[in-house]
Symmetry: C2
Subunit: 137 residues, 2 copies
DNA sequence: ATAATCTCTCTAGTGACTATAGCTTCAAGA
DNA sequence: TCTTGAAGCTATAGTCACTAGAGAGATTAT
């Protein structure tokens, strides 16, 4: 049996976050010691590892809840699990593309500045200028 | 003089968001009509355009506040403005790199699944398996 | 004058935690 | 056995940047 601190160290999930997950019913309330402290078994260790891994991949709590529900039904087809992962892959790619557009714009702004006082600063000008922000970034 | 709705249409910033910015003191409280409605001049239009542009680039409110302070002092050197923009560029690149690692991992997971029921599902297995998450992503 | 639209303030909710306060329990050493 | 310090408990509030909703008043077009 693990204390919440030991579980935290084994999974890399912070103690308050574990309690938060319990509140959100992502993990079920574990047994308690005589003195009312949480005591976890390997079942909970595995579940929390699953959650940690999924969170690290950027999956939302709701998506993780769905995956956990699915994994509780081993005979069901795995289409749904794939769909969740693939949807997230698509969203991740979109986010990357968007950030790359921003990166290009930031590069343009930061490398363009030749002035040495604010009144000539290209960064400030670019942000001020309505014309510059119209075309698409 | 513009109503808050007109300002919203011109800048692309939603009406409640404009009021929120006023509360956060990013924009100063404008004049009011007889009936207590906000009336904006071009000064505020430009300031809000600046804010919108900066937010679209992903800059945080605090960074924007700093840039606005800087732009109020045209004779100051523009190093600080450049630093803010460059810091954000670096952070954006790191975020892109991180998302690309996640993308690779998600691809591995989603394309690896050959099973057709949850008990063989590679997505679920990958998330469950502690070994798979140790090495680096 | 009236209807439709806009605007006002205020409060609360979002997601996924994080921080704080004030208390109790546990484990290890003297 | 006693003590001390770390770890754990609950409950509440704060974070960021908004967004939603209620219920009331203002403005504009017809």
């Amino acid at each position: 049996m693990l204390s919440i601190g030991e579980l935290s160290r084994k999974t890399g999930v912070k103690v308050p976050t574990i309690r938060y997950y319990e509140q959100m019913k992502l993990v079920t309330a574990p047994e308690r010691s005589e003195g009312n402290q949480r005591r976890y078994s390997n079942v909970e260790l595995e579940r929390l590892t699953f959650i940690k891994h999924a969170r690290d991949l950027g999956l939302k709590i709701d998506a993780i809840r769905e995956l956990l529900d699915l994994s509780a039904h081993p005979e069901q087809p795995c289409e749904d699990a794939n769909r969740i992962a693939e949807d997230h892959l698509v969203a991740t790619r979109e986010r990357i593309a968007q950030l790359q557009r921003l990166e290009a714009e930031l590069m343009r702004i930061t490398t363009g500045c030749q002035g040495d006082s604010i009144k000539d600063c290209y960064v400030i000008q670019s942000l001020s200028d309505h014309a510059l922000c119209q075309d698409g970034h």
